[in-house]
């Protein structure tokens, strides 16, 4: 049965008799298209929506526990942590309303480490690392970051085979993960996040995050992170190399 817009509007305004109204309701049960038409004509929905969509005016506050997957987090540089907090615009704010004890919101380095901790050799074994694929990945990653990733230097990273550059995002900031395979085929990652001009520079800080050895530093509005494949990974060789390559 076909219903005109006028009939549907009369239904919505409560001006149809019971039989006509039932006919529409019965038809809708099996006709999603009619349902969509009726919903689009509903004069009440936009009014109610315009009132409630501004409620609440502020993004509500949620206090989340530390992720279960994370190892006890070693202290990061205070500045970096503050930076990560500052970056979390409109995301998960902190409240003590219901929770007497505050936990620290996760920074990008902690998140990246959690993500990287899910990698196994199989994750990277099957990646398409052809020159064409890498070319496209780096072009996109560099565009998102607004800076060069020194691909030639990354390809020359001692003991590492370049596998992929992937664009991720942390709280709206472009985050690029460049993943390598070491000589045993174990995953190894170098991450770059654009933190914005004015972000403070930080010296290299090593920490074990999510069970992985990591090193973080920041310079000229970008944050950098190296992630090994265990808490024992020695990052010093790559670190020397990369801190020189990415010295601004």
């Amino acid at each position: 049965m076909k219903f005109s817009d006028e009939t549907l509007l009369a239904y919505l305004e409560g001006n149809l008799d019971e039989a006509e109204a039932s006919a529409i309701e019965n038809a809708i049960e099996t006709d999603p298209e009619l349902e969509q038409r009726l919903m689009a004509l509903d004069p009440f929905a936009p009014v109610v929506q315009s009132v409630f969509e501004r409620v609440p005016t502020e993004t509500p506050v949620v206090e989340l526990p530390e992720p279960l997957t994370a190892e006890p987090v070693q202290p990061m540089g205070g500045g970096l942590r503050l930076l990560a907090v500052a970056a979390s615009v409109g995301v998960i704010a902190v409240s003590a309303t219901f929770w007497a004890t505050r936990t620290q919101p996760m920074g990008w380095a902690e998140q990246a480490a959690i993500y990287q901790s899910l990698y196994v050799p199989d994750t990277i074994a099957s990646l398409d690392s052809s020159p064409q694929a890498l070319e496209a990945q780096f072009a996109l990653a560099e565009e998102q970051l607004g800076r060069s990733l020194n691909r030639a230097e990354l390809e020359a990273l001692p003991g590492m085979e370049l596998k992929r550059a992937q664009v991720l995002s942390f709280k709206g900031k472009p985050l690029v993960q460049v993943v390598f395979a070491d000589e045993q085929g174990q995953p190894f990652a170098f991450c770059v996040i654009r933190q914005g001009e004015g972000a403070p520079s930080k010296d290299v800080k090593q920490a074990v995050l999510s069970g992985l050895a990591t090193a973080t530093w920041a310079q000229d509005g970008y944050g950098y992170m190296l992630i090994g494949n265990s808490d024992k990974t020695d990052l010093s060789g790559q670190l020397d190399f990369l801190t020189t390559s990415f010295a601004g």
Partner: protein, 200 residues
């Protein structure tokens, strides 16, 4: 994690499909749930407000919902429609854990909306109208209130709302019809006022 669907989207339509956040099969359900909490916290809070009628209970419901969702992240098999999943958790916490102790409060449901919840526009008359609509919606019976919130405010289709609230689609439509009848009065007022204001 191989059963999880990718959330790939094209960036600037250039190059190739690139996953934001993760490539195929690698995003953890925990990350997906965290992302959903970040994206949908406002709507879960609003739904909590619609259920309970009180903003402090809404705060509490949102908090409990997020914690419960994270505890259950391993139940997530698809990253689609995590918003409905959060709403379902919120409602189940309300029905099973919070409602009985809030019900005394709810009977004296503070139907005078907290002014800061609605009075956000510069135009006083608009604010008065918004407050009236808010009050009317909050004065609806709980079943109509939750349905209005899901369909009118959050844009769920009738059948989605029916699935979420576990009622037949016909029940959704009759709840909405009843709600419209009650909202009609305030809206007709507003229409008349608008005509008067525009000087016609």
């Amino acid at each position: 994690m191989s059963n999880l669907s990718p959330r790939a989207r094209s960036v600037n339509g250039k190059h190739t499909q690139v996953a934001i956040y993760s490539m195929h099969g690698e995003i953890s359900s925990e990350q997906a749930v965290l992302g959903a909490i970040q994206t949908h916290s406002k709507r879960v809070w609003r739904f909590g407000l619609a259920l309970s009628g009180a903003s402090d209970v809404a705060d509490d419901l949102l908090q409990s919902t997020c914690l419960r969702a994270l505890e259950r992240h391993h139940q997530v098999t698809s990253h689609e429609r995590l918003d409905s999943w959060l709403m379902t958790i919120c409602r189940s916490i309300w029905l099973n854990e919070v409602r009985s102790r809030s019900v005394r409060k709810a009977q004296a449901l503070s139907v005078t909306p907290e002014a800061e919840l609605v009075a956000t526009g510069p135009d006083t008359e608009t604010n008065i109208f918004a407050a009236e609509v808010f009050t009317q919606v909050m004065q609806l019976p709980e079943a109509q209130r939750e349905t209005v919130m899901l369909v009118f405010v959050e844009g769920y289709s009738y059948r989605e709302a029916a699935a979420l609230l576990e009622v037949p689609i016909g029940t959704i439509m009759s709840r909405l019809s009843n709600a419209r009848q009650k909202l009609k009065t305030v809206m007709q007022h507003e229409a008349a006022d608008a005509v008067r204001r525009s000087g016609k």
